[in-house]
C-alpha cells in the first residue's frame, strides 16, 4: 500500500496550520460562508480566504457560490475513500506505536 506522495504533501501542508485545522472543523460540521468564517479569526478576510484556497486545493473542502456569498463545506467524500480513511487511521496507530517504543526505550536507557 503506497500513498500518493503529491496528495500527501498537499494534505499535510493544508493541515499543518492551526487556523486551517480550525476552519476544517467548522466546515466539516456545516457549510459556512467565507465571510462568516473570516469574522471568527483575528486576521483579514483576504488571509482567511487564502487559507480556504489552500484547503480547497488539497481537496479538503469545496466552494460554491450563492448570490454574493462563497460557501465552503468540508468535502468528506472526496478526501476519504475507504483507502484514504484506513491510511488516516493507520497514521493514528503509527503514532501510538511510536510512543510505546519511546516509552520502553527511555526506560532501558535509564537502566543502563
Amino acid at each position: 500500500m503506497t500513498v500518493d506522495e503529491d496528495r500527501a504533501d498537499a494534505l499535510f501542508h493544508a493541515l499543518a496550520d492551526r487556523t486551517r485545522r480550525d476552519i476544517m472543523r467548522r466546515v466539516m460540521a456545516a457549510e459556512h460562508s467565507v465571510s462568516g468564517l473570516a469574522v471568527k479569526y483575528e486576521m483579514s478576510f483576504a488571509a482567511v480566504q487564502k487559507h480556504v484556497v489552500v484547503l480547497e486545493k488539497a481537496g479538503l473542502l469545496t466552494k460554491r457560490r450563492n448570490g454574493r456569498e462563497q460557501l465552503a463545506r468540508g468535502d468528506v467524500a472526496a478526501v476519504r475513500s475507504v483507502a484514504s480513511m484506513l491510511t488516516e487511521l493507520e497514521q493514528v496507530w503509527r503514532g501510538r506505536i511510536a510512543r510505546i517504543d519511546e516509552l520502553i526505550s527511555s526506560e532501558s536507557t535509564k537502566e543502563d
Partner: protein, 161 residues
C-alpha cells in the same frame, strides 16, 4: 520504526498493524495494564489522554478523555470483551460524553490486540474493525484533529513506508 507490516482490508473495513518492540511480552502488556503508561501512549502530544477508570478484565471498562490545545475535552471508553494476559485482549472502543456515558449515536470499532514473543522481543498485532465505511468516516471526523496532528508528527514514517 517498529511497525513492520500494515494490511488494509477494504472489504472488511479492517486495519491490521504489526509492530516489533524490543521488550518482553510482559513489558508491553504493562503498557496497557497500567493506566499511567496507557495514557502516555494513547493520545498524541497535542491531545494528551487522561485515563480515569481502568479495569482490564472481561466486562470491565477503561474510560479516558483527551485534552486539546484549547482545553477542549473529548471522552471515550473501552468495553473489554476478552482478556488472555499477557497474550491478548479485545475491546470495543467508542465515544462518550464527559461523564463517560457511551454515545450510542456514534459508531464503535472492535479491536483485538495480541502480543507474542518474537526474536527476543515482542511482536504486537493490532486489528481494528469498523461496521461500515460511514462508521469509519464518522470516527475519523471525530478525531480529525488527532488524525491530522498525529499524521504530521509521523511524516517520517509515511515517507519511509
Amino acid at each position: 520504526m517498529p511497525v513492520t507490516d500494515v494490511q488494509q482490508d477494504f472489504d472488511n473495513l479492517t486495519l491490521t498493524i504489526t509492530a516489533d518492540f524490543a521488550a518482553p511480552v510482559e513489558r508491553i502488556w504493562q503498557v496497557y495494564a497500567d493506566p499511567r503508561q496507557l495514557e502516555k501512549v494513547w493520545g498524541p502530544p497535542t491531545y494528551p489522554a487522561t485515563v480515569v477508570d481502568h479495569d482490564l478484565t472481561p466486562g470491565g471498562r477503561m474510560t479516558y478523555f483527551m485534552t486539546g490545545p484549547d482545553g477542549d475535552k473529548h471522552a471515550g471508553y473501552w468495553e473489554i470483551t476478552a482478556v488472555d494476559e499477557p497474550s491478548s485482549f479485545s475491546f470495543v472502543d467508542g465515544f462518550a460524553d464527559l461523564e463517560f456515558n457511551p454515545n450510542p449515536a456514534l459508531p464503535v470499532s472492535r479491536n483485538i490486540f495480541s502480543f507474542a514473543e518474537h526474536d527476543g522481543g515482542t511482536r504486537a498485532i493490532y486489528v481494528s474493525t469498523f461496521e461500515s465505511a460511514e462508521a469509519l468516516q464518522q470516527v475519523l471526523d471525530m478525531g480529525v484533529v488527532e488524525g491530522a496532528s498525529s499524521a504530521i508528527n509521523q511524516i517520517d514514517a509515511l515517507v519511509a513506508s
